[in-house]
């Protein structure tokens, strides 16, 4: 029985969906697809429309324009009650006056399932999230992590077509976060669930997703696999939002099929061309791709301005002919002092920015 929880996973499709609150457009004509059985993340800074998008999937907001399909059904006009979608809330939203088992069984009870059967199913759900035997307790008697799992179980047992998570980790401490996000990913993959997941933490998004949808100002900035977003950001915003990046102007000297030779302040590197012509271009240089050398040799001449020791690596701010660069260096044993003159070279984690 436990294995059947994900049996009804369906795809989610947005077609030109807009949501306006009066004058304010929270989501502007966005379109995307989340394949059945996959985990998609909505990622973006606060106020970008990601939570509204999630609530549009849930039916807690109804679209002003456009179509929303779950599986093959058009659900655009259906309110939350009538959609086969469950949601795990940021605050967990456990009903404080009900026990854990009553919380998990709630969805069955309100749809008319006899209580005994509802509780039996709820028990299976609790077992799945590792909380067997916690049924009679009140939510207030559980730790934050346990409450979170109850919220997951409550949403999961209804075998929804789509399971939604609204920043599920934001109320957990840093150590617990990593573990819970792995658990969520495990459950999603082993049950084959369709999950839409909202977060503002890019690391979390990269870690759990099949697909990341980056949003900005009510629109989709870019969508793709985590690696695509990191290595081929569509524009400055995405490059900057997914990991850190130094945005540096450069020139494409020549294009050879899929690769281009690019000159960054005179230093030449070879990077994927991304279909760009010869001429000036913006590059996103990852901080770990800026290599500092005190031994001289070929490269740009720079000066260390600031340094910070972060345990597993050093962070430097370096003044260079192409502007100030933010650098991550793993050689913590030989830190550079401010004022040190360095030679700057570049590694291969450099992306040409198309937009």
């Amino acid at each position: 029985m436990t294995v059947s929880f994900g049996g009804r996973a369906s795809s989610v499709r947005f077609e030109g969906v807009t949501k306006a609150f009066g004058e304010v457009v929270a989501v502007n004509a966005i379109s995307f697809v989340v394949e059945a059985g996959s985990l998609a993340t909505l990622l973006g800074p606060s106020g970008c429309g990601k939570t509204t998008t999630l609530r549009l999937v849930a039916g807690l907001e109804l679209a002003t324009a456009g179509r929303i399909l779950i599986g093959d059904d058009d659900v655009t006009g259906l309110p939350a009650t009538r959609r086969d979608v469950s949601m795990v809330f940021q605050s967990y939203a456990l009903f404080p006056h009900m026990t854990v088992i009553e919380n998990v069984a709630y969805g069955f009870v309100v749809s008319g399932t006899p209580k005994a059967e509802a509780h039996a199913k709820a028990e299976l759900g609790l077992e799945l999230v590792g909380l067997k035997g916690y049924g009679p307790r009140l939510p207030s008697e559980l730790s934050g992590g346990q409450q979170q799992r109850v919220a997951v179980a409550r949403a999961l047992v209804l075998e929804p077509q789509v399971l939604l998570f609204d920043e599920p980790l934001s109320n957990l401490d840093a150590k617990l976060r990593r573990r819970v996000r792995e658990e969520i990913r495990d459950i999603q993959q082993s049950l084959g669930l369709t999950v839409v997941y909202v977060t503002h933490d890019q690391e979390e998004a990269l870690a759990v997703s099949d697909k990341v949808i980056v949003m900005r100002n009510a629109e989709i900035a870019q969508e793709g696999k985590p690696r695509e977003l990191y290595e081929q950001p569509a524009d400055r915003f995405v490059a900057d939002f997914i990991g850190d990046a130094n945005m540096v102007s450069a020139d494409i000297l020549s294009v050879d099929g899929t690769h281009a030779r690019v000159s960054i302040g005179g230093v030449e590197v070879q990077v994927p061309s991304r279909g760009l012509p010869v001429g000036p271009v913006q590059t996103a240089i990852r901080p770990e791709s800026v290599l500092l050398d005190t031994q001289g040799g070929e490269g740009l001449a720079g000066t260390v301005l600031k340094t910070a020791y972060l345990g597993k690596h050093m962070e430097y701010t370096v003044d260079s002919p192409v502007g100030e660069l933010f650098v991550v260096d793993e050689r913590v044993h030989a830190p550079l002092a401010p004022g040190t003159g360095v030679t700057i070279r570049f590694g291969d984690r450099i992306a040409l920015v198309v937009g």
Partner: protein, 739 residues
């Protein structure tokens, strides 16, 4: 699952409507809403008790035929998906037009046939007539109305949620029917001449009279117009209660005064005291044969005078009655000034007095203005104290009463006076919301901001104590007088102890046929308890439902909805009383003289109490709880029942107790609506006061005060003091309501 759920609701409401049309008496039955004698008295063929269909088959009331059509047509929509345009249109048209038709025929055909002369002129005499609507009409109208809201929901209103649309519709409908319609009736009545003709000149004539606006008192010995009297009194009371309230609030929050808790206890007094009782107690102390008056005469030879009867007496009574309300509001305001702001001022080298003057008091400014407006509205609307102490000093509320109850019986004059009174209170209400609603100087944030309030500067503290302590003592003496006064034979003349008044009021004798409730007060006492007990749950239900809609739902016209539901706070009881008399003593809604009209007046006058309590407690419930319930497949009704209501138990309880208590203490609207059969305690007592029967009045008042005190105490035990405090502060925030 796409939109099929609507069919059974359509069928359900259609059946409700048809039941009203086919089974129940269409017109109101004589022996009251709860009388069921008609079942055995000629039903269903006696025309008095017949259902509409029987009347029609007997050939009477032919104008009821179209209603049958409205009730049958929704069948067209059955079995069709709600997303279809046709279904939506059928429901909207049939429901909307059906309700409009029922109301329309009710207003056009009355006791003497056509209600309007021009209809008679056009169609000739009707030769038939009709009475007030009864069960049948009520059910048919309800059924059609909810078919209309189902149509709105199917169209996609409020996310297509039938329950929410229905609730909004219900509240809009009842508020329109029981607040806006009666008030509009006042306006119409004011525009009519005594012969029933409409004329703006008649209105202006009645409005611009010296009796209302005269300024004679400025330059002569004659009295001023009542509007000026009311206005002057209200300003004096507003200013006085604000200053005194501030003094009390400062003592309680900013000093180490040991009797603080007792002071706080003062705030509960206005809730449990029928308003005119203060006036009554003042008579016992300062009246011509009052205890203090006599003492002063005996000890110092100061002759007794009638100073108490007039502006000064009413002002004193209202000060005593309403200072606790200002106090309650200002506690919150003073506590809202963060100690850390004051500490900041001190670190910038300001001394205690400068800090108070330049930082604390300016921060309290909006709160002070709010307290002033509350006192203003309370005083304007107060009926009991001017009635008891006014003497020749007339104010609007008492003038309205005399215009309609006295020998003059002048509806037009009552209406005009009511309009003037309404104008003043609405203006204050509007100012409060418009001007103060936006400004909040609350500097205490959710973050735990510590700090110790700066102690009051020495001389200022002395002044404050010098004012508050005597005032508190006087309040205590007043209440002691009330409780003690009921036990003396004849106050001021014969102070022998006696139980006479209690026996007169609450005597029980054992007669031949068992116990007899022989005391004079029992009748009104039982009626009061019953009416209050019936109206309390209704008030709580409608108030909390409104709160739910306001806090949790987004819909078109929500602001207007909120304003409309809160408006009844600003409408003085006297105005409601007059308007109900005008609106509900003729068909189609013939309610005067029944208990229902009392219940309705309480429900709509106290509704804001429930709304405020609901809003306060619902705002503390995370809305994601509702949303979680919805995404788990619960409907909005299931969500309310299983999640929202269980979590709001304290608010529900508080709303219940407060509406019960307020119904028991109310007087101003009640006095217009009581009848021989349904007499209320407060109206009965006021009647005794007018007959100078102080002993019984005081005895009865003490009983009421004790009962309500116990009710509040029980509530406090059940809910906890903190919550109670917040609740009552929330309740009074928007405008304490005149009783």
């Amino acid at each position: 699952m796409n939109g099929l759920g609507i069919g059974r609701y359509v069928l359900g409401w259609q059946l409700v409507g048809l039941a009203g049309f086919l089974l129940l008496p269409w017109y109101a039955v004589e022996d009251g809403f709860w009388g069921f004698g008609w079942l055995f008295d000629g039903y269903p063929f006696d025309p008095d008790y017949a259902p509409a269909i029987v009347l029609l088959l007997q050939g009477a009331k032919p104008w009821l035929w179209p209603i049958a059509g409205f009730l049958l047509l929704p069948a067209l929509a059955l079995g069709r998906p709600s997303t279809e345009r046709f279904t939506q249109n059928v429901l909207l048209l049939v429901g909307g037009l059906g309700v409009a038709y029922i109301l329309g025929q009710g207003f056009t055909v009355g006791l003497r046939g056509w209600n309007a002369g021009f209809l008679e002129a056009w169609y000739g005499p009707l030769g038939d007539r009709q009475f007030g609507m009864g069960y049948g009409a009520l059910l048919a109208g309800t059924g059609l109305f909810f078919l209309f809201t189902l149509g709105c929901a199917a169209r996609g209103a409020v996310n297509g949620d039938g329950f929410v649309v229905g609730s909004i519709g219900l509240i809009v409908m009842v508020v329109a029917l029981f607040i806006f319609f009666p008030v509009a009736r006042i306006l119409i009545s004011a525009l009519q001449t005594n012969e029933g003709l409409f004329s703006l000149a008649a209105l202006l004539d009645k409005l611009l009279t010296g009796k209302i606006w005269g300024l004679d008192c400025v330059y002569s010995h004659r009295a001023c117009g009542v509007a000026w009297n009311s206005l002057a009194l209200a300003v004096a009371v507003g200013a006085g209660t604000t200053l005194l309230g501030l003094a009390f609030a400062l003592v309680v929050t900013r000093t180490g005064f040991p009797a603080k808790r007792l002071f706080r206890g003062l705030t509960v007094l206005p809730i449990i005291t029928p308003p005119f009782v203060i006036g009554l107690a003042l008579i016992l102390l300062f009246g011509q044969s009052g205890a203090i008056t006599q003492f002063l005469e005996a000890a110092f030879g100061i002759p007794a005078s009638r100073w108490l009867y007039g502006f000064s007496g009413v002002w004193l009574a209202q000060m005593l009655a309403f200072t606790p309300i200002a106090f309650l509001v200002l506690i919150g305001v003073v506590e809202g000034v963060s100690p850390s702001v004051e500490e900041a001022a001190q670190t910038l080298r300001a001394d205690a007095w400068t800090t108070l003057r330049t930082v604390s008091l300016p921060l309290m400014r909006p709160g002070l203005a709010n307290a002033f407006l509350l006192g203003f509205i309370e005083s304007m609307a107060d009926f009991g104290n001017p009635m008891v102490l006014g003497g020749n000093f007339n104010v609007l509320s008492t003038e309205i009463f005399f215009a309609i109850v006295g020998a003059q019986y002048d509806q037009g004059r009552a209406s005009v006076l009511a309009l003037v009174l309404l104008f003043f209170t609405l203006l204050a209400f509007y100012a409060q919301r418009r001007w103060l609603g936006r400004k909040s100087y609350t500097s205490v944030t959710g973050k735990g901001d510590a700090g110790i309030a700066v102690p009051l500067p020495g001389r200022f503290a002395t002044l404050i104590f010098g004012v508050t302590i005597p005032w508190a003592v006087m309040t205590a003496v007043l209440y002691a007088t009330i409780l003690f006064g009921g036990f003396v034979n004849l106050w001021g003349l014969d102070h022998t102890l006696t139980l006479r008044h209690y026996i007169d009021a609450f005597g029980i004798t054992v007669g031949d046929h068992g116990w007899v409730w022989s005391g004079g007060a029992w009748n009104s006492f039982f009626t009061t308890i019953a009416i209050s007990a019936i109206s309390a749950p209704l008030t709580a239900a409608i108030g909390l439902l409104t709160a739910y809609l306001l806090v949790r739902q987004r819909f078109l016209g929500k602001q207007a909805f909120e304003f409309g539901t809160m408006l009844s706070f600003a409408i003085p009881g006297t105005v409601i009383g007059v308007s109900y008399v005008l609106a509900f003593n003729v068909p189609p809604l013939e309610l005067t003289g029944t208990g229902i009209i009392l219940v309705i007046s309480f429900v709509f006058r106290n509704m804001p109490v429930g709304v405020r309590a609901g809003i306060a407690s619902m705002s503390q419930l995370d809305s994601s709880l509702d949303e979680a319930s919805l995404t788990l497949g619960a409907s909005s009704w299931q969500t309310i029942r299983r999640v929202v209501l269980p979590l709001m138990r304290p608010a529900i309880l508080a709303a219940l107790v407060y509406s019960f208590v307020r119904a028991m203490t109310a007087i101003s609207a009640v006095i217009f609506l009581v009848s021989a059969e349904y007499d209320m305690a407060t109206a009965y007592i006021l009647g005794r006061v007018e007959n100078n029967d102080y002993g019984l009045s005081i005895a009865y008042s003490s009983v009421l005060i004790v009962i309500m005190f116990v009710a509040i105490l029980l509530l406090q035990l059940l809910v906890g003091e903190r919550r109670l405090g917040r609740r009552s502060a929330a309740k009074l925030e928007i405008g304490g309501q005149p009783a």
